[in-house]
Symmetry: C2
Amino acid sequence: MAVAGDKTQGGTAERILDSAERLVQTRGFSNFSYADVAAELGITKASLHYHFPGKAELGEALITRYAERFSEALDRIDHDLPTARARLEAYAELYAGVLRGERMCMCGVLAAEYETLPGAMRAEVVRFFDENQRWLAQLLTAGQADNTLSFTGPVDETAQNILSTLEGAMLVARPYGDLARFDGARRALLAGLTVTR
Amino acid sequence: MAVAGDKTQGGTAERILDSAERLVQTRGFSNFSYADVAAELGITKASLHYHFPGKAELGEALITRYAERFSEALDRIDHDLPTARARLEAYAELYAGVLRGERMCMCGVLAAEYETLPGAMRAEVVRFFDENQRWLAQLLTAGQADNTLSFTGPVDETAQNILSTLEGAMLVARPYGDLARFDGARRALLAGLTVTR
DNA sequence: GTCTATAGGCAGATAGAC
DNA sequence: GTCTATCTGCCTATAGAC
C-alpha cells in the first residue's frame, strides 16, 4: 500500500499505468504494446497480464485514473482561485502543462481512434468530455455573475467550444513541436471571453 | 486510363486510395490494414503491393491526393465567391461536409498518431496544415480590405487558430455523433470574426 | 507476483506462376 | 496485374513453474 513520501515509486500497477499513460498520450492506444511497457519497467509481458487481464481493461483503468486526477485538479482550481476568469486561465494552463510534457490530452488522442476502441473505453472518453463541459458551463455561469467573463452564445454551447478549441490547439500544435502555437490559441480564446469595459 | 463518364469506376490504384482514405479517416492509419482494403475491393493483399510497395508509400499517396483535392476546392472557393466572409463560410462548410460523411479530417487524425508515422508522411501532414494556414492568412488580409472580416490578433496567428478550432470541433464532435456540435463551434468562430456595425 | 515457454492470430511483405 | 503460397515478426493472451 502507498504511504506518505511515496511519490517516485508506487506499486507495480501504478508504474504500469504511468508508463502506459505516457505511451498513449504520445503514440495512441493502438500504437503501444504490452511489450513496450514491459521493456520500460524491466518486467515481462506476462506480469502485466496479472495486473491488467487484457489491454481493454488496462485502457479503462488509464482513462479512469486520468479522469479522476483531472477532476481533482478542477476541484483545486475551484478552491484556490476566486474569480471565474482566473479559474478559466488555470484551466487552460492545465492543457498547456500537458503539451509542455510533449503529450496530447489522453481523451483527445482516443477520440481520434474512437471507432476502434472497446465499448467501455468509448463510454469513458465521452464521460470525460461531459465532465469537462459540465465544469466549464458552471464556470461560465459564475463568470456572468461575477462579471469576469463575457460571451454571447448559450452557456452549454460555449462550454463545448472551449473544450474543443483547446483540444484542437493541442492536436495541431504537437506536430509543429511549438508551444507558442498553443499559446496563441489560448490567448485568442481568453480574449474572446473578456468583459468589454 | 481514365476516360470521360468514368466517375464510379476508376483504375485499381484509385479504388485502393478511395478505400484506404475512408479507413484512415474513420479509424486512423495504424488501425487499418492491407487486408481490410483487399477485402473491401475483392482483390488480394499481394495486388495492393503491386500498386503501392509498402504501407508508407500508400500513406504518402493518400495525403498527396487529399491535399491536392483540398487545394482544388480552395481554388474553386476563390473563383466562385466574391467576399472574404463568404469564402470563410465555404471553408468551414468543407469541414462540415467531411464530418457529415462520418469522417475526420485526414490530417487531423494523422496528427494524433504523428509520432508513429513514417518521416515522409509527417512532412506531408505539416505541409497540409501550412497550406491551409497560408490560404487562411491571405483570406484574412482580404477580409480586412473588403471589410467583411474583423479580428484583433496577428493575421498568421488568427489563421492558425481558425484551423485548429475546426480540427478540434471535428475531433470532439465525432464521438458524440453530433453534427450540431460542430455547427455550434462554426457559428461561434464566424461570429468572432464578424465586423461590428 | 513474477517468471519461462508457448500458443494462435494478424500484420506487412516477397517470390514466382499465370 | 492479379493470383497462390509462404515468410517473418509482432501482437495479445494463457498455462504452469517458482
